[in-house]
């Protein structure tokens, strides 16, 4: 399965790219995170504390155990600080 994965703020800075296509068989977000962390150190650095990383599937906030199912875009970012 091919996923568009996007990163924002310091998650983006640690991973080094704003967007990439990831080929994966992960069934949920947590699996995808674990898989990325084994691939390269920069993912491990970005995802070292998932309590401060939020996830959106197709632009909707979801929990870490959300199934990837038919999602096309996964986003990882820190807690929001707008306003």
């Amino acid at each position: 399965m091919k996923l568009d994965v996007v990163y924002f703020a310091w998650v983006r800075e640690r991973i080094g790219v704003p967007r990439e296509v990831v080929e994966t068989e992960a069934v949920n977000v947590a699996d995808l995170v674990a898989e990325l962390c084994t691939r390269e150190e920069r993912y491990a650095a970005a995802f070292v504390d998932m309590s401060v990383v939020k996830v959106a599937l197709d632009q909707t906030l979801v929990a870490l155990d959300a199934p990837l199912a038919d999602a096309r875009e996964v986003a990882f970012f820190p807690p929001m600080t707008g306003g």
Partner: protein, 146 residues
């Protein structure tokens, strides 16, 4: 009921005037404006990153929730992104209602949810370097009021 996400500045007075222009059913308008602070004197710019594909929809969802909870006659959210100078306007919300309580509460509600649910991130560029602004635990806690 309008949401705008833009890099350019906005004219607060013109926006508020437009909200109630030509109407006689609005008794109360509440506005909130967020400005770039520089409390230590070494801020050079505030950078606002956002998630373009999600931002507009997230703000519209928050606004729709306010419209569901309060009897509003008009509402407006404008949020900027990009590099802003100290003192600059970051964003505004405005709500208009027949009654002042509805206008106050809904504007307060919009701000609480916008803070923690709209995909914006602030980075402060200072003389000594740059740092991402941390989310406050109080901001997440504030959502439980509603």
């Amino acid at each position: 009921m309008t949401v705008r996400v833009q890099a350019t500045d906005f004219d607060l007075g013109a926006e508020l005037a437009a909200l109630s222009k030509g109407r006689v059913d609005i008794g109360a308008v509440v506005s909130f404006t967020g400005l770039v602070r520089d409390l230590t004197g070494d801020l050079q710019a505030l950078e606002l990153e956002h998630y373009p594909a999600m931002t507009q929809a997230a703000l519209e969802e928050i606004e729709a929730e306010a419209v569901k909870r309060w009897d509003l006659d008009a509402s407006l959210i404008i949020h900027r992104y990009g590099r802003l100078q100290p003192g600059a306007q970051i964003m505004m919300v405005a709500t208009a209602s027949k009654h002042r309580k509805a206008a106050f509460e809904s504007a307060d509600f919009l701000m609480d949810f916008l803070k923690s649910r709209a995909p914006f991130w602030k980075k402060e560029h200072g003389l000594a370097g740059a740092a991402w602004v941390d989310a406050k635990e109080a901001d997440e806690t504030a959502l439980k009021r509603w």
